[in-house]
């Protein structure tokens, strides 16, 4: 009797490596379900695995550029010179823009209360024979699966038993 192994992944090359490796072992019964992403994430900063398109540096960098240019120019007259005034101008411009975006985003997020950070992005279901379970499980773990669950196919056994009874 076979097993069905459920696992969750994030989008990465590892996922495709896992699938191709399983196919090398002649395990072909693989079903993938990519999940839709939550529209608004509670995380403020973009990471490799969670990007929500809310940028906190758009306004900040524009202001840093503007204040930096003015700072350099002012520095030719002020005491500390153009380099330091340019840096001060840029830093304060960046800080002001960043604070503006953070506050703006915080207000926006308050309206849409969200839970914890996103984890699984794809569900992969692999069907295999009992003796292959260990191999499949290890392959999934090695390729950065977030979670793996091995389940027996009891409903299939029951269906077959019912069919046998009828005959």
């Amino acid at each position: 009797m076979g097993l069905q192994i459920f696992s969750t992944f994030q989008h990465s090359h590892y996922l495709e490596l896992a699938i191709s490796e399983l196919k090398e072992y002649k395990i072909e019964d693989i079903y993938a379900v990519p999940l839709d992403n939550r529209k608004l994430d509670s995380k403020m900063f973009d990471t490799m695995h969670a990007m929500d398109g809310t940028s906190l540096v758009d306004t900040a960098l524009i202001l840093a550029m503007m204040c930096g240019t003015v700072g350099v120019a002012r520095g030719f007259v002020l005491d500390w010179g153009p380099v330091f005034w340019g840096l001060i101008g840029s830093a304060s411009g960046f800080a002001a823009g960043f604070a503006f975006d953070v506050i703006k985003t915080a207000i926006k997020r308050k309206k849409i209360k969200t839970g914890k950070t996103r984890l699984g992005e794809i569900i992969i279901i692999v069907q295999c024979k009992n003796e292959q379970a260990e191999l499949v499980e290890q392959t999934l773990w090695r390729n950065m699966a977030l979670g793996v669950a091995v389940t027996s196919m009891q409903s299939l056994e029951r269906n077959q038993a019912v069919l046998a009874d009828k005959n």
Partner: protein
Amino acid sequence: MNNFRNKYRNRYYQANFTPFGTIQLHQRNPHIVALWSVAFPGFGHFLIHKFITGFALFFWEFYINQVTHLNTAMMYSFNGDIAKAKEILDERYIYLYIPVYLFAIWDSYRTAVDENMIHLLAKRENAKFTTFSINPFGMNFISKKKPLVAFAWSLAFPSLGQMYIHRIIGALLLLIMTIVVILNSDLVEGIHYCMLGDFGRAREVVDEQWSLYFPSIYFYGIYDAYSNTVELGKLFSWEQADFLKRHHQPQNFVLHKGEKI
């Protein structure tokens, strides 16, 4: 060599990966694009991948700025020394500046709006696009990169963030510009004297005409690298999900209930 051959040509594509760079359509705020054109004509166009227009505008602004001493005039104006600003500006060229400057802002805004629409159409059409290419000049493929890493490399030196995400043409321009501006403005020497606490000396060695280019180039480099890395990550996830749906959802796969072992 491409890993993808299109039997029926599609109308729009979301992206293209070639050894000369990664080009990707994505939603942008046209106001931000226009503001980068305000910072430096050409930057708005680089953001929206209109590299040739961007080059033309960039070098034009650079040339006019040099011959009219616009940066120096800006420095005097910000310091309230209007008389000196009037004196240094070259009236033979300065009128040429205005129309092209405004065109750069207007055109980058307009193109960004257009590209947003095209991106929407391309996304709805959902055409497959080249995600891997290889030729004698090198190779390029779709992969996920970390936005903060791109940010940090750009912070260290403009153009490194672009190299990280394989935006080669933008990276090349930024690299050349940064070196030319840094060398001509003696910024490094200025930093050296500032570290030593000799601010008067620093002010003497730093060239005002050249050093005023630096903030726009530096912050544009960070913004371009960061925002494109974020969008590249989104594209990667979207493309992989699409691939899985096309190739790994067999009709005969049946789900069975059972205890977890």
